[in-house]
């Protein structure tokens, strides 16, 4: 199946992942969260060599194994079997988070429940409803050199997830650097949230209309096909 065909079949999750992959540079150490972030790995061009970090103690995870060739002990942090790249290493959970806290992750790619125009992230608790726990998200959001948030622009009830102030308990303050949704690409800067790109077929007006946060514009807003 060629690239064109992939795009034909592409849903919004895949498009977000494809756009996110463009942010990845050769040589990066990256942690991928569960959900849309996991899909990013499929869109990284072969010439960009990256090491994926899994918080359960692997540096250098590779693609999923062929069916029947799984080692049930060799899984990513989401619990799914993985393979290894050359140069991979195993270590305990304390070292996995030493790498994070020491600031050695070039990028972490996370899903969220809410993200604010200041870069505040909420993704671990909906009081009284869902309380999955923070897992490693606090460390990842607080300590990675670059935090990329991938999310649908709206929640199931049609409300903006990109907002002025988070209403849910925070995972980390001022953590997000770039937000990629099914409608737009937005950059968190010191003076506010900037709209950089809109996802085809949405217009700038569509995105501004769907966003509770204040969106600033500085220069051209391009369209991502």
């Amino acid at each position: 199946m060629g690239v064109g065909e992939v795009r034909e079949a592409e849903g919004y999750r895949e498009r977000i992942a494809r756009r996110a992959a463009m942010e990845i540079e050769d040589g990066m150490i990256i942690n991928l969260g569960i959900g849309i972030p996991t899909l990013v790995a499929d869109y990284i061009p072969r010439e960009k060599r990256v090491f994926f970090h899994a918080e359960n103690g692997i540096l250098g995870t590779g693609p999923s194994p062929a069916k029947g060739e799984e080692n049930p002990m060799l899984c990513n942090a989401g619990g799914f079997p993985v393979t290894l790249m050359p140069g991979a290493s195993f270590f305990d959970s304390a070292t996995a988070f030493a790498i994070i806290r020491r600031g050695l992750l070039d990028m972490t790619i996370l899903g969220v429940l809410e993200v604010s125009e200041k870069g505040d992230i909420a993704n671990w608790i909906v009081p009284g409803k869902r309380v999955p726990g923070m897992g490693g998200a606090m460390e990842l959001a607080q300590k990675a050199k670059r935090v990329m948030v991938l999310t649908t622009h709206l929640d199931k009830n049609g409300r903006s997830k990109v907002i002025r102030e988070c209403s849910l308990p925070l995972t980390a303050r001022g953590a997000a650097d770039l937000i990629i949704t099914d409608m737009a690409v937005m950059e968190v800067r010191a003076d506010g949230l900037y709209l950089r790109e809109v996802m085809h077929p949405y217009t700038v007006a569509d995105v501004i209309g769907a966003t509770e946060a204040e969106l600033k514009i500085d220069g051209e807003v391009t369209v991502f096909e």
Binding site: A54, E55, N56, G57, I58, E70, N71, P72, M73, L74, C75, N76, A77, G78, G79, F80, P81, F90, F91, D92, S93, A94, A96, F97, A98, I100, R101, I125, G128, R130, V131, P132, G133, M134, G135, G136, A137, M138, E139, Q142, K143, P169, L170, T171, A172, R173
Partner: protein, 233 residues
């Protein structure tokens, strides 16, 4: 450390190992999403009817996998974990007020277990500063920066899953089943290892040993994983 007889042969029967478990105990378990949870010891806990457990574990795994089974069968009264999302029974029991849950950021949980295991009085961290994870924690200022005081964790019994153990208790792990296991192995007042393979002293290379046997009190032979993984169809 419990004196279980011969320091140079710590292999015991499952029954003997289980004699150190009791209802109301604190139990620490190595593993992450079920991977690295010791299946035979967990089965033994269920069969022996141990209840009212205070569980320290990265997560509550899945409903029918690993340590998740203890939650599903309502053997746990409190859990200290970073994540319970993959086991809906944990969330439901928590919401119903039947299970007390103390959340801890995952890397801090790892360091708290390690701190207990290596005999420190606590650690200082800035993880969770400015969030509700601060709640109830002492703040300590070092230089001009504020940190949260995180307390060490130990347990009456710690159980781990190793790939190989020699009879002294030197351990190696299986790929990513290492995760919390080497930390948990240090943090038990009694540490019991379930090993897939038990070898003679001298069979492990000194450089490959991850956990020195001095941390281990007892070793039981694993009967292998007795659940289907979530990814298996």
């Amino acid at each position: 450390m419990a004196h279980t007889g011969d320091r140079f042969d710590k292999v015991v029967s499952l029954e003997h190992a289980l004699s150190y478990f009791h209802s109301g105990m604190t139990l620490m378990v190595g593993g992450f999403g079920g991977v690295g949870n010791p299946p035979t010891l967990i089965e033994g806990i269920l069969e022996k009817g141990i209840r009212e457990i205070t569980l320290i574990s990265n997560d509550t795994a899945f409903p029918h996998i690993g340590v998740g089974r203890l939650v599903t069968e309502r053997r746990v009264k409190k859990v200290i974990a970073s994540h319970i999302g993959s086991n809906p029974n944990a969330g439901a029991q928590m919401t119903a007020g039947e299970l007390e849950v103390e959340f801890c950021p995952q890397g801090i949980l790892a360091e708290r277990v390690r701190a207990g295991g290596v005999g420190l009085g606590g650690i200082l961290s800035d993880i969770g500063i400015g969030t509700i994870a601060e709640k109830g924690k002492t703040k300590v200022t070092v230089g001009d920066k504020e940190y949260l005081l995180e307390t060490p964790l130990t347990a009456e019994v710690a159980i781990v899953h190793a790939k190989k153990a020699d009879r002294f208790g030197n351990l190696v792990y299986d790929t990513s089943a290492r995760n919390f296991n080497p930390l948990v192995a240090m943090a038990g007042d009694i540490t019991i290892v379930e090993a897939d393979e038990i070898v003679q002293i001298g069979d492990l290379h000194p450089e490959e040993i991850v956990t020195p046997g001095v941390f281990v009190d007892m070793i039981v032979q694993s009967k292998g994983v007795n659940w289907r993984w979530a990814w298996e169809k």
